[in-house]
Amino acid sequence: MLIEQCKIIRNEEIAGGIWEMEFSAPGIVSYYTGPGQFLEILLDNKWSFTVRRPMSIANVEEKRITIIYKIFGRGTTLLTESKVGGILDILGPLGNVFSGWQGNYVPILVGGGVGLAPILNLFRECQKHQIHSKLIIGAKTGREHFMDHDPSNGIFLTTDDGTLGNPGTVMPSLKKVCADIDNPMVFACGPLPMLKGMQDFVIQNKIPAQLSVESYMGCGTGLCQGCAIKRRNVKEKAHSYHERYSLVCMDGPVYSASEVSFD
């Protein structure tokens, strides 16, 4: 982990409201351990943005890192205005990685909204290791997609409004894919409602699953204690430091589906 001044190589809109940025980050890359890890990006040095913005690593190619981000609020809007050749102050790599996907399971990768990046990273990693995986990407509408719906190659796009790929959320597609496979293991990242639905489904069906979760982050380094998420099934008892809450930046962002609670 270190703070690096990263030169921007590319920054472009790849679908409606979805941007991809590539920058040079030899230092960060030298510590990188795999899909799931994320970065903390400083948006300016004038304290208009007190906290860095967390962004998952979408790809690492030699000494370059790619992120995929969705325009959400004023920070991500500012990011779209970053010019090629400009410098971004980035802290990373942070967090843990998806694991178990090299085992005996068929990895089912599910990404939605801002949760695309780590899932695409894992997808590529599977390809590199010649692991046959399924990929399900959800979006509200067709123009937010930048890949092709390609069921024969195990790539399923879904849209809430039915304008592209399978209509509906990722859930029906996930259920169908899981039903067709003997040994599925789910890896997912996306908005809260999606993760909730996912968690219910995999627990009910005893499918092993890892979820990459989000949380409002103050530092990314364990110092602020802001990024707490509730653990699941923790008995209410006093004096049990770090039993009820987990720090997403230190213990996560990837959790086993049975570990965390979204309530």
Binding site: M1, S48, G218, C224, Y241, Y245
Partner: protein, 304 residues
């Protein structure tokens, strides 16, 4: 060579750059790229008698030039702290001040008694008096002169280590509370803790902080911290440790000129926990440029 050393009570610190409670963990768990040995000292997060899980999320939110937090004093508790953390301080290369919090006078006292029963490298205690007193209907210790006096007196009788009282800005007269602490034997006061703040998501109508009220920190409150230090400086003789919105070495100079003898960095550690180390060289350069031998000669020298 400029002299950056400063003295509080009978302890000499190699420089006046400390990290603030709750923003630098226990000092032994910071990122690798940070060289804590360069710092003048580290103030630990608040430690309580029993471990605390802290508040439900959301615990923090960004605000203009600042942030609000309501962590709820999540910490391992004093026993775990003594066992697992304190030993690591023997090789940490900087001085450790333990920040303690309690909800009764007894709790504060009990923590210090425990700490005094072992030998350790801790050079002092910073008393977080911005805690609700459960025996007085939840009123904070730090808003009341006599409660602050009583607490300081009790703790003073228990230790010869540094006793630093950390003042709350959420009071009508911070200098009066500082005076109470001085009169009852505090070696120094630190100011300020966070200012009560609130933030709402106008789309969801939800509070951005689970507990609704939280503590505002960051550059937004630098003017408030400076004013507090200046007021206290005119009322007490003990050293003042300035806190609030420091992000660079010129902010440190401002705090010294207002009356601080040392400073603590808080929120800035979340952007970059190595900010403090970089300030040391910058302060040396500053002192050289304005031809002063010792940084202490800046204390309270603001002109108008």
């Amino acid at each position: 060579m400029t002299d950056l050393r400063i003295q509080i009570g009978n302890i000499e610190f190699k420089n006046p750059i400390f990290t603030a409670s709750g923003t630098f963990g226990y000092g032994n768990d910071v990122p690798d790229f940070v060289d804590v040995s360069k710092l003048g000292g580290i103030f630990t997060k608040s430690i309580t008698l029993h471990p605390r899980e802290g508040n439900p999320p959301p615990r923090i939110v960004e605000t203009p030039s600042g942030m609000i937090n309501s962590i709820g004093l999540a910490n391992v508790g004093v026993d775990h702290y003594m066992r697992e953390m304190v030993p690591s301080y023997s090789t940490i290369g900087t001085k450790i001040i333990m920040n303690i919090a309690g909800s009764t006078l007894d709790e504060y006292a009990e923590i210090i008694r425990k700490m005094e029963s072992i030998s350790s490298d801790i050079v002092g205690y910073e008393i977080n008096i911005s805690c609700p007193n459960v025996k007085k209907g939840g009123m904070e210790f730090g808003v009341d002169r006599s409660l602050t006096a009583e607490l300081t007196k009790i703790l003073r009788s228990l230790t010869e280590r540094l006793l630093i009282v950390k003042l709350s800005p959420n009071v009508t007269d911070i200098a009066a509370i500082a005076t109470a602490a001085e009169e009852c034997g505090a070696d120094a006061v630190s100011a300020i803790n966070t200012v009560v703040g609130m933030s709402i998501n106008p789309t969801t109508w939800k509070s951005n902080i689970y507990t609704v009220f939280g503590g505002l920190s960051g550059p937004a409150l630098k003017p408030i911290g400076l004013a507090a230090v200046q007021k206290i400086f005119h009322s007490v003789k003990i050293p003042i440790i300035g806190i609030g919105g420091i992000t660079g070495s010129l902010d440190v100079i401002e705090y010294f000129l207002a009356g601080a003898s040392a400073v603590q960095l808080g929120t800035v550690n979340f952007q970059d926990p190595s900010t403090g180390e970089r300030m040391i060289d910058e302060l040396e350069t500053y002192c050289k440029d304005v031809s002063i031998d010792s940084i202490s000669s800046l204390v309270g020298k603001v002109k108008n």
